[in-house]
């Protein structure tokens, strides 16, 4: 029920990734008018960046942020900076303990949506431009990022159900996904047995954790995507991003659309060409449609 987009500039530096993704997602907003989200890779920070979703009403928000402060103190994480914007609360902390244990505890008590040294996930109800108005996504620069527009079927449209999803327990990994994983519960049980906790019933969260778990075991992103196509059943097109790479995987039935366009400088991937064409108005581009059951990755120069 959605549209996806991703971009990676091959040369390190400050590229207008926020603006690029806003354009691309605006181009396919018809695929998902309810919420929009971005996973953006900016500068590498010494501190760990965390973003939470908190209530917008003042007293409730105060209670939530106080609670977060207590949680962090419990894990010897010192807050270096903090910022409240929209429905989110963003902080930078000094932390060098066990991230998995740390985030597992925090996620039981707070809505953590982004964790990383370079990654920042911004997501909320509304269109790409509406989210930009609040979070100034357009000002974000960096090398790569992925984004998502969503049509929600649950009762209330909630920002935490928007994509991208971070890979619970793993920093700097994000995913956007279009489609449906049909062996969701089987895969989830398998991962749960290995100690992972899930905070939504969303299949995209599962894909994120599945991929991150494999990456943690030292596999390359290419290998991980290859096994994902074999392990996951259903119809899907998804994009995954790590500190230096982005990649896609497409199911064997090719039921979900995806097109990509690559130049010497950049690679852009989206559900529909209309999003790619937003980056090159008035021009025809030599886009390609990935074949069913394929994957590919790209990395930026470091």
């Amino acid at each position: 029920m959605c549209g996806i987009a991703g971009v990676l500039y091959k040369q390190a530096g400050t590229h207008e990734i926020g603006k690029t993704l806003i354009d691309m997602l605006d181009g396919c907003q018809h695929r998902g008018p309810d919420s929009t989200g971005f996973a953006l890779y900016g500068e590498d920070s010494d501190q760990l960046q965390l973003r939470f979703i908190v209530p917008t009403e003042e007293t409730a928000r105060k209670k939530a942020t106080d609670n977060i402060a207590t949680l962090l103190a419990r894990h010897d994480a010192t807050i270096k900076s903090e910022q409240s914007v929209g429905c989110s609360y963003q902080i930078a902390v000094d932390f060098d303990g066990d991230l998995l244990a740390f985030t597992k505890d925090i996620e039981e008590h707070a809505k953590l949506v982004s964790v990383g040294h370079t990654l920042d996930i911004i997501k909320d109800d509304g269109t790409a431009h509406e989210v930009d108005d609040i979070y100034h996504v357009g000002r974000v620069t960096g090398t790569h990022g992925i984004g998502h527009v969503r049509l929600a079927t649950e009762s209330a449209v909630r920002p935490e159900a928007a994509h991208p999803f971070w890979a619970t327990g793993f920093e700097d990994i994000a995913i956007v996904h279009n489609g449906q994983i049909t062996n969701y519960w089987k895969m989830r049980r398998r991962l749960a047995r290995r100690g992972y906790t899930f905070h939504t019933d969303n299949d995209s969260e599962l894909v994120a954790v599945y991929l991150a778990d494999k990456l943690k075991q030292g596999e390359t992103l290419d290998n991980v995507l290859e096994t994902a196509i074999a392990d996951l059943d259903g119809t899907f097109s998804f994009l995954v991003s790590t500190p230096n790479e982005i990649g896609y995987a497409k199911d064997n039935l090719a039921a979900k659309p995806m097109v990509l366009f690559e130049t010497d400088d950049m690679i852009a991937i989206a559900s529909e060409e209309v999003s790619l064409n937003r980056l090159f108005p008035g021009q025809s581009i030599n886009s390609t449609e990935p074949a069913p059951g394929t994957f590919q990755t790209w990395s930026r120069s470091t």
Binding site: L151, T153, G179, Q180, P257, V274, G282, N286, S287, P292
Partner: protein
């Protein structure tokens, strides 16, 4: 040639102008297309449209006679359902290029995406490069020429037509085979390639259907007529119905197929009643005429809504499942009673169009009989996703009914056991459906209401998608809905009852604050005016009747609709059987039945104290069983406050109203 700049004009304005130029015979160039969707959709004049750049989804779709040239790439479903004319794509095409074409020529100079030519009926789809996964999937006719390679499953589940592959074939699809091609065929292909300036000198591998799966190996035997009131008797195991079922399975060795809907007890409208002191109501029969029953359906986005004389429609039933005579009788009865008729799957008949004042044209996954001209003469359009009798399955029409006449209107081979696809080629999720909705709006100039037909499954989610995808109305069909043929496993066991469906729909729409601008039409087991009023009180805006209209028009409920030799000439394409059907007589019977609904609806509305049927509400209802109370959230009769205060003079106004 006039230019239209898509960076300055929105697609609806652009398409309106293209059509105007079409009527004037003027060619058009589209500049700055930037892969936008629905360019040139719905054009029915033979002009040239040049797209200078790349096009998005459905370029040139639902058109007839026009010629499109796309300079660069095309998105999904280029040339969707074109009747005649051509599309030339200079670059690559996305998935399902040439889907459902009925005679066009589609040329893709580069590669084409998956499922090219899905459910195509006639014409030529030609690709200069490679074709991805499942080229020719479920095609019913025409030819596909692939100069490069064919990826996996070439010709998967094709029924007819030919696929010529110049390069390598990764693998063949189900029930296909490679045969030699003759010189004449090759000459025709060469002529085609030359006409489109495509250079090719190599050989071809010709792939056709192998004919092993077109018909069931064992035909469904004709069973002893067993009326539904016998077969759904209260013993639900080891009864006559179960016994017969086992015998027949022993004979055919597969699942069973039959007509009609679920025939087992489920919670239904009988389990709720009106709660009201009817003694207080005294009125004269002529007062009933002043009760407002008028109902409009489909005005959400400014299209001309259906205007019904009462909250009743005729349910979608196909010419195919039913004979031509029955479709004419239904259309006539709908006109006489001021309600709407629905084509169902399989195309629109001229006589049906003439007889019906208001006709809904249904679009199914197989795009059988689907075309732009009939869309443009319909009063409403309905995209079929599924139906209550068989959620998740496509239509089934047994070979006996696939006569030459029927095959011609549907564009399929004669005499196959037709199994329509279960999914739309171009709708694989709510996200694709949005673009399809837009294509249909463009093809009908935003003037025709657009509805969606859904079988009741996960209604709470589905209704929200229907709302968000921008439909004007929903026809929601519960488990009790009937069909011409389906497997009994699905008929009896898949989906939720109509009563649960309406409640989930109302709840789902409330959860997203949808208001009441999208009309909800409920169907599945609506037998009379009492049911209609109960449905409206529960929250529906309108109802739709199929089975009861058929019974009013002579059906004896023998449940043998799938066989094709209906004893009264209804569910048949056999001329001899059809001759038993008297259109004049039966259309009057159906009309009179509708008028009895009108009387019931008006008198119950009046008895409940209203002057307008749309004023009835849940407060007028009570549940008679714990199940019905649980499903609907209505108070259970024994717990209703009025039950404990006999001095209120409570009466339960139920079927006595009829």
């Amino acid at each position: 040639m006039v230019k239209i700049d898509l960076s300055k004009t929105d697609i609806t304005d652009a398409n309106t102008r293209i059509r105007d130029y079409g009527r004037a015979g003027e060619d058009v160039e589209i500049i700055n297309p930037d892969a936008r969707h629905n360019i040139g959709v719905g054009l029915v004049d033979p002009i040239n449209v040049k797209v200078s750049g790349s096009a998005g989804y459905f370029c040139g779709g639902l058109s007839d006679g026009a010629h499109y040239e796309i300079e660069h790439n095309a998105g999904w479903a280029v040339g969707d359902n074109i009747y005649s004319g051509s599309v030339v794509v200079g670059g690559n095409a996305g998935a399902i290029a040439g889907v459902a074409i009925r005679g066009a020529e589609i040329v893709v100079r580069g590669n084409m995406g998956s499922r090219a030519g899905q459910v195509m009926k006639a014409g030529t789809l030609c690709c200069g490069g490679n074709a991805a996964f499942m080229a020719g999937y479920m095609m019913y006719g025409g030819r596909i020429i692939i100069l490069g390679d064919g990826a996996a499953k070439v010709g998967q589940d094709m029924s007819a037509g030919e696929i010529f592959v110049g390069g390598k074939i990764e693998s063949l699809g189900n029930d296909t085979m490679i045969v030699d091609m003759d010189a004449a065929e090759r000459d025709e292909i060469m002529e085609f390639l030359e006409r489109y300036k495509m250079n090719y000198n190599g050989d071809f591998t010709k792939v056709i259907n192998a004919g092993k799966k077109l018909r069931y190996a064992n035909q469904e035997p004709r069973a002893r007529p067993q009326p539904f009131f016998v077969s759904s008797n209260s013993s639900n195991y080891w009864n006559a119905k179960v016994q017969e079922d086992i015998w027949i399975k022993g004979e055919v060795g597969r699942y069973r197929i039959r007509g009609y809907g679920a025939s087992k007890p489920v919670p239904h409208l009988n389990d709720i009643a009106f709660i009201k002191d009817v003694n207080a109501q005294h009125y004269k029969p002529e007062e009933l005429e002043d009760i407002n029953l008028k109902t409009t359906v489909g005005g959400r986005y400014g299209a001309k809504p259906l205007s019904l004389s009462m909250p009743v429609m005729i349910a979608p039933m196909s010419f195919g499942a039913l004979s031509r005579s029955v479709k004419i009788a239904l259309a006539r009865a709908s006109r006489l009673s001021g309600i709407s008729e629905n084509t169902g799957e399989g195309g629109m008949l001229d006589e049906q169009r003439e007889e019906a004042d208001q006709l809904i044209f249904q679009c199914l996954s197989g795009r059988l009989g689907w075309n732009v001209k009939d869309m443009q003469r319909a009063d409403a359009i309905e995209i079929y996703i599924s139906q209550g009798a068989k959620p998740g399955l496509g239509g089934q029409l047994m070979a006996k009914k696939v006569t030459p006449e029927l095959a011609a209107i549907r564009g399929i081979p004669v005499g196959i056991d037709l199994r329509s696809p279960s999914r739309h080629p171009d709708v694989l999720g709510a996200d694709d459906l949005v673009i399809k909705v837009e294509e249909f709006r463009e093809a009908t100039m935003h003037k025709v209401p657009l509805g969606i037909k859904m079988g009741a499954g996960r209604v709470n989610d589905d209704i929200k998608i229907a709302y968000k995808d921008g439909f004007d109305f929903v026809e929601l069909d519960g488990l009790q809905g009937s069909t011409g043929a389906a497997s009994t496993e699905v008929l009896e066991n898949v989906g939720i009852p109509t009563l649960s469906a309406v409640q989930e729909a109302i709840d789902g729409l409330k959860e997203i604050d949808a208001g009441d601008d999208m009309d909800l039409v409920m169907m599945g087991g609506i037998k009379d005016g009492v049911d209609v009023v109960k449905m409206l009180a529960l929250g529906a805006d309108c109802t739709s009747v199929g089975t009861s209209a058929i019974i009013a028009g002579g059906c004896i409920a023998c449940m043998q609709c799938h066989v094709g030799t209906c004893p009264v000439g209804i569910a048949t394409q056999d001329k001899e059987h059809e001759a038993r059907y008297d259109i004049d007589l039966q259309s009057q019977n159906i009309h009179r039945y509708f008028e009895s609904l009108r009387w019931q609806i008006a008198s119950i509305t009046k008895a409940l104290g209203y002057d307008d049927v749309h004023k009835v509400s849940r407060d007028d209802l009570v549940a008679l069983t714990p199940e019905a109370a649980d499903i609907t959230g209505l108070p259970l009769l024994s717990e209703h406050p009025a039950w404990h205060q006999p001095e209120m003079g409570l009466e339960v106004l139920d079927r006595k109203a009829g």
